[in-house]
């Protein structure tokens, strides 16, 4: 079994030697970064190129799924430690995002995505 090791941040000041600090690769804000990604580039990939600003979903009839990359991994903001519980919540939030997009589009047709 292999356990990944957290990488201590470079030493900037003396306390960093004995008590290292660790970088957070996510945004620390509760800002939905697991859905939208932690960089503008990631967000651009996740949101469709359509002007409605919707999140990318693979639709099959009435069903919609989080899209998959060529290895079969989910394409979303944060995909580590994936299991059915994550699949459920990510799908639900993406559907909710898209439903809100539809409502906004209906009420404010001039808005950009």
């Amino acid at each position: 079994m292999t356990l990944p090791r957290s990488k201590p941040d470079e030493v900037l000041d003396s306390p960093d030697i004995k008590c290292p600090a660790y970088k957070n690769t996510n945004t620390s804000w509760w800002d939905g970064s697991q859905i939208y990604g932690s960089s503008e580039a990631a967000t651009q990939i996740l949101r469709t190129t359509q002007p409605d600003g919707k999140l990318l979903l693979t639709e099959r009839g009435r069903e919609a799924f989080i899209p998959r990359d060529s290895d079969g991994n989910p394409v979303t903001g944060f995909k580590d430690n994936w299991w059915i519980g994550m699949e459920m919540l990510h799908t639900m939030f993406a559907l909710e995002h898209n439903a809100i997009c539809d409502k906004l589009r209906e009420k404010y047709p001039s808005w950009t995505g």
Partner: protein
């Protein structure tokens, strides 16, 4: 520049003491709704003041909003995906790639030695907690699997420590479950680090 530390205002400090007194008799959720909401807001201020420790020695790491113009006006009101400019005063606070803060002062969170890290062994802890007892399955009656999913989902929004990218520098750990189970292997487990 000194380390960034949050100082509650005079009014906030008074409110903290006031609600501390009230909460001795009534918890926040049993107060009338508006008062309960104020109670929560003040609990948040108190936690921010006494339970968050910055991991940068100087606040300079967060930048200075007065010197850094917004790259695009939309970030005034809209989310920047990397978290930058969520705080207009300290633009890089909470950004992707910034150090994660702590809930304890740093002098109490020294890096453990490998021996300390593996004591008790995670495998031992897991076996003790997770092995089915002769009594059989004990259901958790206060929560279900959705709670686990929701908490994991929220943590994915919040933090992921940067890990060493190279596999050989991760901890390779031999599964010695049998030995651990009979108690002969508490210390000095097989850790191969190359």
């Amino acid at each position: 520049m000194d380390s960034y530390s949050f100082q509650p205002s005079f009014t906030e400090r008074i409110s903290i003491s006031l609600f501390k007194f009230v909460n001795k008799y009534t918890p926040w959720h049993k107060l009338p709704p508006i008062l309960g909401a104020f109670n929560l807001a003040i609990l948040r201020v108190e936690l921010q003041a006494k339970n968050l420790y910055d991991t940068y020695v100087t606040g300079a790491a967060y930048g200075d909003g007065s010197e850094e113009p917004l790259p695009e006006q939309r970030f005034q009101n809209a989310r920047n995906s990397d978290g930058k400019f969520n705080s207009l005063e300290l633009p890089r606070m909470g950004c992707a790639g910034m150090r994660f803060g702590r809930n304890f002062p740093r002098q109490h969170t020294q890096k453990p030695t490998d021996r300390e890290l593996w004591t008790p062994n995670p495998r031992l802890v897991s076996e003790r907690f997770m092995t089915r007892k002769p009594k059989g399955f004990i259901p958790a009656t206060s929560l279900n699997l959705l709670a686990a999913a929701w908490i994991q989902f929220q943590i994915h929004d919040w933090v992921f420590h940067e890990s060493v990218s190279c596999l050989s520098r991760s901890l390779l750990y031999a599964l010695l479950a049998k030995k651990i189970l009979d108690g002969s292997l508490y210390l000095g487990n097989l850790i191969i680090e190359s």
